[in-house]
């Protein structure tokens, strides 16, 4: 449906009502800032989240570049030690708590979850809007607390450094707790929506895997975040009433804080990676035009990761002085998480076997993801093994490892998902050529930034160092050059998407030939998404979908002898 018709200027390239009568999409169904800020529409809330988290990402990314530039030389380039420490704290805290954790579930998930269920909205639209304002309030509160306090504790806020040197650490932790509440609201909303609002015919094992991933993520969000609240209460009780909990001077134990912190923050790692895996499952299947291989194994592995993820937090503390027995148990449990993650990678590969693979931009990101996540996952083996972890802990090896998982994994999947659902969200196609090129630049820049850091780590370069020994300089310089390339790639990707909003070709309802329900409504969807709840179809059956030139997208036709889609029928998208 040509949904942008009402808003088109006369001189735009493709006018008229190409595919039928004009309809009003969610972007234009009402006007004025109130219609956005007070909206209960999950799509608008998703878009507001998207703008919010991308702003946070821009801020965190600029700080990252400043840090990398300072590290170009072993001595002082332009930042004092204190300034450097504040910046790496801001970078880590913004990226983790304000950007990555809400990125896929809150921005993409909010937009997509009801659409994938063929519904008008999530179960609790008001709770959904509240979650956005909790996120916004939490983010602002958190940033102010950090900036006012000049917080330089690292994003982990370890006691007693944090409690003895800064007055605002409780405020900052409270800010994270507010952000956590936004996660809890989203999580509850998603769990209830998936449990109660699946369309007729969509049983649990017919759900798209993205929904399984969001479901598993929601469970972690609801169960893990309260621990953060307990931590805030304990920190406050200690500072107000002098009860010894974490502070050794009062008879407390600083390592206990680490247990509390990681009991939340390790599951948070899975909050970040699980929805990314959900996206990749969708992308690989659609662009290989094959049903996902081993659907049940992937679905179960999401749940397995969510549950096992609660039991491994102690692997952050192998050198902290926790007992030998706990270190050994945590090491064993840590390895158990690697199995379901490995299963997913093998299943994605098997999905591509004998498929008909098209390397559209989202698929390029999916392929990047598989390579980068594999490196990130495999390097985790060195850190899960006790003897090697003792050497590598708190060095750049760890920095490289978690960037491969968080950025090479979650961010790349987020970008892949964003490019995949972009036509659905905004009704425009972007340039495939520039989209793919920016993906390639990001991939190369990323590896040049972070691969040298593995070697820095094995050579013994500790993390969070403002100054370093000259022997490490060449690796740091490679990394800095890589980060600039990575920055260029990300700016290109942003430019491609923004350009599409202005000059992009109008998108059809189903430009990629996907079989999940969100592609059966208009691009962009109308305010109510669907006229009536569509019956569930097989989420991974591409047999009946054929490319229709007139629609400029795929349409479902009754199964008969049809030619299968191929690139030759599609216009070149440049």
């Amino acid at each position: 449906m040509n949904t942008l018709a009402l808003n088109r200027k006369p001189d735009e390239p493709r006018g008229g009502t190409l595919h039928g009568e004009p309809t009003v999409n969610y972007l234009h169904c009402s006007r004025g800032w109130k219609s956005w800020l007070l909206t209960l529409d999950h799509k608008r809330i998703g878009v507001m989240y998207l703008v919010g988290i991308l702003s946070a990402f821009l801020l965190g990314g600029i700080i990252a570049l400043v840090i990398r530039l300072e590290l170009f030389t072993p001595g002082k380039a332009f930042l004092s030690e204190d300034r450097y420490n504040e910046l790496f704290t801001l970078h880590g805290a913004i990226m983790t708590f304000v950007f990555i954790i809400p990125s896929i579930p809150a921005a993409l998930g909010n937009f997509l979850l009801p659409l994938m269920l063929g519904q008008k909205d999530v179960a609790f639209p008001r709770l959904n809007l509240a979650s956005f304002y909790f996120w916004l309030g939490g983010a602002i509160f958190f940033l102010i607390a950090m900036l006012v306090g000049g917080l330089d504790t690292g994003w982990t806020f370890y006691t007693p450094y944090s409690t003895t040197t800064s007055s605002t650490v409780i405020a900052a932790t409270f800010g994270i707790f507010i952000l956590g509440f936004s996660s809890i609201f989203t999580g509850i909303n998603f769990i209830v929506t998936i449990n109660t609002m699946r369309p007729p015919g969509m049983t649990w094992f017919k759900m798209p895997l993205m929904l399984w991933a969001l479901y598993a993520t929601s469970i972690i969000q609801v169960l893990a975040t309260p621990v953060l609240g307990i931590t805030v209460v304990l920190l406050t009780a200690e500072s107000l009433f002098g009860i010894g909990i974490f502070s050794p001077e009062l008879g407390g134990d600083p390592v206990l804080y680490q247990h509390f912190f990681w009991f939340y923050s390790h599951p948070a790692v899975y909050i970040m990676i699980l929805p990314a895996m959900g996206i990749i499952s969708e992308l690989i299947s659609v662009f290989s035009r094959k049903p996902i291989f081993g659907y049940r194994f992937i679905a179960y592995s999401s749940i397995a990761i969510a549950l096992l993820g609660f039991l491994v937090w102690g692997h952050h503390m192998f050198t902290s002085g926790q007992s030998k027995l706990s270190a050994i148990i945590f090491s064993a449990l840590t390895f158990s998480v690697s199995i379901p993650s490995g299963i997913k990678v093998f299943n994605w590969l098997a999905t591509m076997y004998k498929g008909s693979i098209r390397l559209a931009t989202p698929m390029c990101y999916a392929v990047s993801f598989i390579l980068l996540f594999t490196i990130g996952g495999l390097t985790g083996l060195f850190l899960g093994a006790l003897a090697t972890d003792v050497h590598l802990h708190d060095t750049y090896f760890v920095v490289a490892h978690f960037h491969y998982v968080m950025m090479g994994g979650t961010l790349i999947a987020f970008l892949g998902g964003l490019h995949y659902w972009w036509p659905k969200m905004f009704g425009r196609m972007y340039s495939e050529f520039w989209g793919r090129l920016s993906c390639l630049v990001i991939f190369l820049g990323f590896n040049l930034t972070f691969f040298p850091q593995f070697i820095l780590g094995t050579q013994g370069m500790p993390r969070r160092y403002a100054r370093y020994e000259p022997e490490f300089q060449w690796l740091h310089q490679l990394s800095t050059i890589g980060s600039l390339l990575l920055g260029v790639g990300l700016v290109m990707a942003a430019a491609v998407l923004v350009h599409s909003l202005i000059r992009g070709r109008l998108a059809s309802a189903n430009p990629w030939g996907s079989a999940t329900l969100e592609w059966t409504c208009d691009s962009p969807p109308t305010h109510h998404n669907f006229e009536s709840i569509p019956p569930a179809t097989d989420a991974y059956d591409y047999q009946d979908l054929v490319f229709d030139d007139e629609q400029d997208g795929y349409v479902r036709t009754p199964a008969e002898e049809e030619p299968l889609p191929d690139d030759a029928q599609q216009p070149v998208l440049i």
Binding site: E81, D82, N85, D152, T153, Y158, P160, Y161, T164, T165, P248, E249, G252, D253, P254, R289, F293, G294, R296, T319, S320, G321, S331, S338, N347, L349, A350, M352, Y353, S356, L359, I370, L371, T374, I375, L378, T379, L381, F382, G384, A385, L386, A387, V390, H391, H393, D394, T395, I455, T458, Q459, G460, P462, R464, Y465, A466, Y468, W474, L564, D566
Partner: protein
């Protein structure tokens, strides 16, 4: 033997080191490296396998005009069980190996030589049985050394990359680690638990003395204050006891004010009061650092109460006096 062990020196690598590692210089280091290379081999095999299969499928099944999706199974229990069980066995082996290495690293031999370690922002104090305190860790070669460690303020972590050991120093408790150096020389020692402004400068050297020389060195330390002038002793203490981490002697600003020309000068305090720096002010600042803090500096200096003897404080005062 190992393809990654490069014999030629890149100019950036220490002799005997590889692209990945500093030369293994403790009894445990070679074991850790062996496990590392074992895991690395597994990683390389899996990465090549995954990349190879991925590339093969991308090329073979790339969408071309007229090309069709070929029928293939949507799942295969045996295949899926196989690629769950095989990695599970491999990680079990990695776990066991890491576990054994870890237990060895955490269990010092009974006959080990014990050195006390106290960390504070941002210096190390290594305390020997004869009472000598040093900012560098002097140890004998080929003898197990165990470190009994604690922290005066926040969490620090002692890390010697060449020995592949690391252990946190937590205030309010003792932690232990041990090593046996297998070659003499100087090795970097870093703090790897973030501890604030001076974290990246909180490093020291492990000086491994050749056989027999450690005892000679230790005997000399007992008498150094007597054999040299007070100013020279003050200079040594300045370097050894952590003053140098925060106070320069060349006029440049660090976390604390420079010592150059400080003696006899009048300075504004954070309280607004102006104070002339004399012997008593220096003594007070060493023992009660927060009493009178110079304006423009944060009150971050740890106290040395009970850690410096009177004659050592006198030597430091004389040294600061000498820095015109």
């Amino acid at each position: 033997m190992n393809p990654l062990t490069m014999n030629h020196n890149l100019g950036l690598l220490a002799d005997g080191g590889s692209l990945l590692f500093r030369p293994p210089s403790s009894t445990a280091a070679a074991d850790v490296d062996r496990l590392f290379y074992f895991i690395l081999a597994i990683c390389v095999v899996f990465f090549v396998l995954i990349t190879g299969v991925l590339s093969l499928f991308l090329v073979r099944h790339y969408r071309r005009p007229g090309q069709r999706v070929q029928p293939s199974p949507s799942h295969n229990n045996w295949l899926e069980i196989a690629w769950s069980v095989v990695p599970a066995i491999l990680v079990a082996v990695i776990f066991m190996w890491g576990f054994i290495g870890y237990l060895n690293a955490r269990t010092p031999p009974d006959d080990s030589y014990e050195i006390q370690v106290v960390a504070k922002k941002w210096s190390w104090a290594f305390i020997y049985p004869n009472g000598h305190v040093d900012n560098n860790l002097h140890v004998p070669v080929d003898r197990p050394v165990s470190l009994v460690m604690s922290s005066d303020d926040v969490i620090h972590s002692l890390y010697v990359p060449a020995f592949r050991i690391k252990m946190d120093l937590v205030p309010g408790r003792y932690s232990k680690t041990w090593f046996e150096a297998i070659q003499s020389g100087e090795f970097d020692l870093f703090c790897t638990e973030y501890c604030g402004t001076g974290h990246s400068l909180m490093n020291a050297l492990v000086i491994v003395h050749p056989s027999g020389e450690f005892e000679t060195w230790l005997n000399k330390t007992a008498t150094f204050l007597i054999e040299i002038t007070t100013v020279e002793a003050g200079k040594l203490l300045y370097a050894r006891r952590g003053c140098a981490q925060c106070h320069s002697v060349d006029g440049s600003a660090k976390a604390g004010p420079t010592f150059q020309g400080i003696f006899g000068a009048e300075h504004r305090m954070a309280s607004g009061e102006d104070i002339v720096v004399d012997e008593n002010y220096i003594r007070e600042s060493i023992l009660q650092p927060q009493a009178k803090v110079r304006a423009g500096y944060r009150p971050v200096m740890p106290t040395y109460q009970g850690q410096l003897k009177d004659e050592e404080i006198t030597a430091l005062v004389q040294y600061i006096k000498s820095l015109k």
